[in-house]
């Protein structure tokens, strides 16, 4: 496969890959590195790519697995510093948008969810994938996804309302 054809195939979802990586790895720097790594992997197996009928879902699965592996090895190394420095890594423009109070509030709540819940929220509520696509990416059954999604949304709702009431009082 030529580079141009490859790029045409994989570039349309580069932001989705990045956003998923950022959702799981939290820091922008690490998400950028992960995206780079993933595209390098895709490029190395470019001959095999035509076998997959949904390359985007395949790439998202790889991203998910890669990030979860990264988190696992990080936990093994006890490197949790990343969580505290993520706010500094962002560009100033992003800061303005991201750290507007309300957005930040929701961000914190979603940050507190489990990895699986974060993953499903990201895929459904932000990337707007259909349930069968999410099933393909995560390897979970659609019913399980709906249950996990509902639980995640309920948790976010409760915490959000609590925060909101706190803000009013």
């Amino acid at each position: 496969m030529q580079q141009a054809a490859f790029l045409q195939l994989v570039m349309p979802f580069k932001d989705k890959v990045f956003r998923l990586a950022k959702r799981l790895l939290i820091s922008t720097d690490e998400a950028e590195d992960a995206t780079q790594e993933l595209y390098f992997k895709l490029w190395n197996q470019k001959e095999k790519l035509s076998q997959y009928n949904n390359i985007e879902a395949y790439a998202m699965t790889m991203t998910k697995n890669y990030c979860l592996d990264q988190l696992k090895s990080k936990r093994a190394d006890n490197l949790t510093l990343v969580y505290s420095n993520f706010s500094k890594a962002d560009s100033s423009l992003e800061k303005v948008i991201e750290f507007k109070d309300s957005v930040n509030k929701v961000h914190e709540i979603i940050e507190g969810l489990s990895n699986q819940q974060k993953l499903i929220i990201q895929l459904r509520d932000i990337e707007q994938y259909e349930f069968d696509e999410i099933a393909e990416i995560t390897g979970l059954k659609e019913t399980a996804i709906r249950v996990a999604l509902s639980r995640a949304r309920q948790t976010v709702r409760e915490k959000l309302i609590k925060k909101h009431q706190y803000g009013i009082k």
Binding site: R19, E98, V103
Partner: protein
């Protein structure tokens, strides 16, 4: 959309039963309109999703990276330089040591040569002395008793 409808849709949303279209309608509603106070928390939620969806990768992707600098490889390089260095150093040391030994060996051999030459001189002189003895014996017959 009517408020009643929105509230129904919200309940459906939290049960995980809304379709993508319905979720789009919720996002649309919460991000474009002024909402009643009791729905304000959801404005944050759907606003957040919209903001996050627009986030983009800001670094260009490099496909033909042959070598990515990392401290892991730097340490590997450092260790191999150290090992090779030690090996070469030891080699060098043993070579000079060998040369030194060779020199010592040769000097010793020369010294031994010199000694043996001198010794040979002595042997020669002794041989002459022996000649002297036989001549003397010819002249002075000794009494055999």
């Amino acid at each position: 959309m009517e408020l009643n409808n929105i509230e129904k849709l919200l309940e459906k949303y939290f049960k995980g039963e809304t379709s993508l279209n319905e979720e789009a309608a919720l996002r649309q509603y919460f991000t474009t309109q002024k909402v009643p106070v009791h729905l304000e928390p959801y404005q944050d939620l759907f606003g957040y999703f919209t903001v996050k969806k627009s986030e983009a990768l800001s670094k260009p992707i490099v496909l033909n990276k042959k070598f990515k600098f990392s401290y892991k490889w730097l340490s590997v390089a450092a260790v191999s330089v150290f090992i090779i260095g030690t090996y070469i150093y030891n080699n060098q040391v043993s070579k000079t040591r060998y040369a030194q030994t060779m020199r010592d060996y040769q000097t010793t051999q020369q010294a031994l040569d010199l000694i043996s030459k001198n010794l040979n001189k002595g042997v020669f002189a002794m041989a002459q002395l022996q000649e002297f003895e036989t001549t003397k014996n010819k002249i002075f017959k000794e009494d055999k008793k």
